[in-house]
């Protein structure tokens, strides 16, 4: 989702009030986020970059309300080649592709220039991945002399936008806001910096900043637009969107010739694309039966033209709809044109019964047992820190290779996934220190261990008893109660563990495998958690190495 801002007045001038704006945007799947101080904020889904523009939104609303009817080949170019752009080999390893538009008689008065700049910046930011994939430059056509070269150099000079004195490229990259923000995109070993120049001056450092010599103002009549990036398809698509916006602003589009070493291309090519959709696919996907003619009337509300072709429908996709690739996309637009709210729900008949997952059933059973033993259930996060998971538990020997650790976290209290639950419960008791005693808490949940290019998730049960007389024998009696109820055959062995008091803890073995431990918590551990009463705790592995792959569909 991207949010864009417009003045309410501009919509009103087009005969669109807030109510109509709100309901039409909702019907189109967009959202009117807020209205504040005469400014509306609209959120646009990522599949419709054409609607990041005021002109694009007006167009969509007018089609929806049939105030405007789509005309075939309305969005087109004159056959004139207005500019030639020669691309040098030296940009091929830095930013190889360029597309361009010449738009004549654009009206940039009122809010138009502001909206156009916001639109291009929004596209570069979102669709263009912060200019990495796509960057757009706007120039006053009449301030450009002759044809254009796209080249790269390590020794260039330019008068930056809104400045008066020529400066070196390197200096501009270092000192300008956009240079600092986007400079990394064009970093290369040779230190070459890509730029555009006309027959006299450098007109832009790509994709950083324009020169002051071709500056666009609200009085500018004719525009030259450069679009650069890493894929010709992607930048040509954006050239199409921009061209359609210019045409809706009253301009005529002239083409440019791009001269690459190996081939020449002409841009933009504003063509309607045909997509053929089988009739039954429409009914089947939406769940409503339409006549083909009706379906055509629905896509006309989305700016398409349509034609009947046997048992199929041919949708003619306008050039700004770069998101529409195949029949699925058109069918969605048919549904939007019909109105999602009008789709009657269709019941799914199936005699099959549903089932709970085994893990859900099992953890519920264990939770009921623990509650029956008088324990309060806690539910903690999986994410934790080495400090909480190890240091506070007196554990000094850490097998780092078995820790699932986080590469980068915005929160300093997070750097790994927990390997046991006990520290979580002690933390819970710590923040509950002033609550009436005794305290009995438990949690059933997952713990995680790293393996080579893999990991292991196990289901653990942990519980803690805290009060002035809690001790080994009390925790033991609870451990044995739960082991017996769960039908786990066990054997207890002595254990030396820094978390517990030496001589007051035990290891639980089942079938000669260590499955858990319990005992009186060491006073230094209690102090780490600021616990002032003695406490005893247990941790038992219920299911080792949960394998989800082996889950079968039982239904």
């Amino acid at each position: 989702m991207s949010n864009v801002l417009f003045d309410i007045k501009d919509f009103e001038r087009m005969g669109i009030d807030i109510k109509m704006l709100d309901s039409t945007l909702t019907d189109l799947g967009m959202e009117l986020e807020s209205i504040k101080d005469g400014v509306v904020e609209i959120s646009i889904t990522p599949n419709r970059p054409d609607m990041l523009d005021f002109v694009g939104i007006i167009r969509a609303i007018e089609y929806m309300h049939k105030k405007r009817h789509p005309k075939e080949n309305y969005y087109t170019t004159s056959s004139q080649i207005a500019k030639t752009i020669t691309v040098s080999e030296s940009v091929s390893n830095i930013r190889p592709y360029i597309s361009a538009i010449v738009a004549k008689n654009v009206n940039l008065s009122g809010s138009a220039l502001k909206y156009l700049i916001n639109f291009t910046e929004k596209i570069c930011d979102t669709y263009g991945r912060k200019r990495k994939k796509i960057a757009i430059g706007l120039h006053d056509l009449n301030k450009i002399s002759g044809d254009i070269t796209y080249d790269a150099t390590d020794n260039g000079f330019m008068i930056p936008l809104n400045e008066e004195v020529k400066r070196s490229f390197a200096d501009i990259l270092k000192s300008s806001d956009t240079g600092i923000k986007y400079g990394d995109i064009i970093k290369n070993k040779e230190g070459l910096i890509p730029y555009l120049s006309d027959e006299k001056n450098v007109i832009a450092i790509i994709p950083i900043l324009n020169s002051n010599s071709t500056k666009v103002t609200s009085l500018t009549k004719d525009l030259f637009v450069d679009i650069t990036g890493m894929s010709q398809d992607a930048i040509d698509a954006i050239a199409n969107i921009l061209s359609c916006s210019f045409i809706d602003m009253g301009a005529t589009i002239e083409q440019c010739k791009i001269v690459y070493k190996k081939s020449n291309i002409i841009v933009p090519l504003l063509k309607m694309r045909d997509i053929t959709i089988k009739r039954f696919r429409i009914d089947e996907t939406i769940g409503v039966k339409f006549e083909t003619r009706e379906a055509i009337s629905f896509i006309e509300r989305l700016g398409y033209n349509g034609a009947v072709y046997g048992t199929s429908l041919i949708a003619k996709v306008p050039p700004y709809r770069i998101d529409v690739l195949n029949d699925q996309d058109v069918i969605e637009d048919i549904a939007i044109g019909f109105g999602y709210g009008k789709i009657e729900p269709l019941k799914i008949l199936s005699p099959k019964q549903g089932l709970f997952n085994d893990i859900t059933l099992y953890t519920n059973k264990v939770a009921i047992l623990m509650v029956g033993l008088g324990f309060m259930e806690c539910s903690n996060n999986y994410l934790t820190s080495e400090n909480a998971n190890y240091d506070m538990m007196n554990i000094t020997k850490i097998e780092r290779s078995s820790v699932v650790s986080i590469e980068y976290s915005k929160s300093p209290s997070i750097n790994m996934l927990r390997t046991h639950i006990l520290p979580n419960l002690l933390q819970n008791l710590s923040i509950s220190a002033h609550e009436a005693m005794p305290q009995r808490v438990f949690e059933i949940g997952s713990i995680f261990m790293a393996q080579r290019r893999n990991f292991k998730e196990s289901l653990h049960l942990s519980f803690v008893i805290e009060h002035s007389k809690s001790n080994f024998s009390e925790i033991k009696s609870n451990v044995l109660a739960i082991l017996n109820m769960l039908n786990i055959k066990y054997e207890l062995k002595t254990l030396s563990d820094p978390t517990f008091i030496e001589g007051r803890c035990a290891a639980i073995y089942s079938s000669n495998k260590l499955i858990g431990k319990f005992g009186e918590l060491h006073p230094s551990v209690l102090s780490s958690f600021s616990l002032e009463e003695p406490a005893a705790g247990a941790e038992i592995c219920l299911v080792e190495d949960i394998k989800y792959d082996s889950q079968h569909l039982k239904a």
Partner: protein
Amino acid sequence: MSDKNRILDFLKHNGESTLESIAKNLDININVLIELLKNMEIEKQVNIVYTNALKVEITKEGKIDIQEGFPEEKLLNEAKKSKLHISNVDSIALGWAKRNGWVSIIDNHIKITEKGEQVESVGYKLKEVLTKLNKENIPTKLLSELSPDILKILESRNLIVIKNSRMPDIISIRDKSDFNANEISQLTRSMIKERSWEGAQFKRYDINAGSDITYPARMHPMRIFLNRIASIWVSMGFTEVKGPIIEPAFWNFDTLFIPQDHPSRDTQDTFFLSNPKDLDISDIELMSKFKKEHKRYWKYEMSEKISSMGVLRTQTTSVSARQMRIIGKSKDHEYPIKLFSIGKVFRNESIDYKHLAEFYQLEGLVVGPSLSLAHLIWIIKEFALNIGIDIKIRPSSFAFVEPGLEVYFYSERHKTNIELCGGGIIRKEITNSMGIKKPVLAWGMGLDRAIMDELKLDSITELYKNQLGWLRSVSDINSGVNV
């Protein structure tokens, strides 16, 4: 000897005693002692003279300040780091910092005074008192030793609430002559066995006298809530599935048609793992299919290195992706296949009382012949009906569905439209690659907001803090049932 007997013994030897002296001499926690004494009063073992005492409770704001520091302390720390213009700082924090004499304002900028420099070493009295109040249950008498000015300030800043409560003050043993030898107080085993109660009087108790508080042991509200949601889906004929929270980026992103340069795959949003840094992807065939689709659709070369990076899943849709593959690889299904999944998802957030790094999501999937948007709408309407929500549908866009939809409802509590879930028909590019020839309906919803509404919580962190006082008191019994 029981604590009660120890108390009686103590009173016998020392006569009238104060609450504090009993607590101190017998080493009994004040709160425990109060409960014991009230009990003994009912049983007519002791006399208690009560006094009206002040009781301090720390407010939510107070707890936040204890944890994060007072606003003026934060301001002071920031001012130490960089030069601050007064228009850029919280005016309340500035007010207090000035009042404390920590800062002065020169040229509209904040300058730290000598006193301000010393705060770190000397400490901040307000915070110390607040922390002390929070940590210890301070008896009335000690409370008055704390500076009343400071208490007043804390109260005016809404960090504490001072309440009047009745506290035992002087305790004495009850005169023997008060006892009627023939009156029974505690019924005992021997009385029942020997029928010695026959002909005796049962002492009448004051039913309004205080009693011990009994705290329940119970399942966590989140488990109760998730069980309820799961039951609804099971009752609608859905089977519950689960999947791993650790995934190679392939299952979390690539199979859902999210291109490898998409912003949601940034370390700013997703938790990537440093160990295991890469995870094995066994389904090589599937990988090459998705490589082709990404190339065709997004026009780039999918990198296997990026696909294998370990992440904490950002959406439970990864579970649906794995289930689709299982369905696509096996044969002879009885359609429709209806699945749902509930689990934790993770986002790289800076955690505060509004934002969490892990939360719960629900995911649903139906596979079958001729399934349409209209069927999907029916499913979600059925579910919404079960939780008492009247929904509306509008178009929306997610990388892995086409057509896509969003379901929302009007919330009376929040006075605004709230998104319930997103969904659609899984793109053919995905289902074909998975080996499924039938339409697949899918939807997903976050659950944390719903449970907040159910428990009427203002902050989601409450739910995962596991503060025992909260767990003992929070009630969800009224919701959902109209008795």
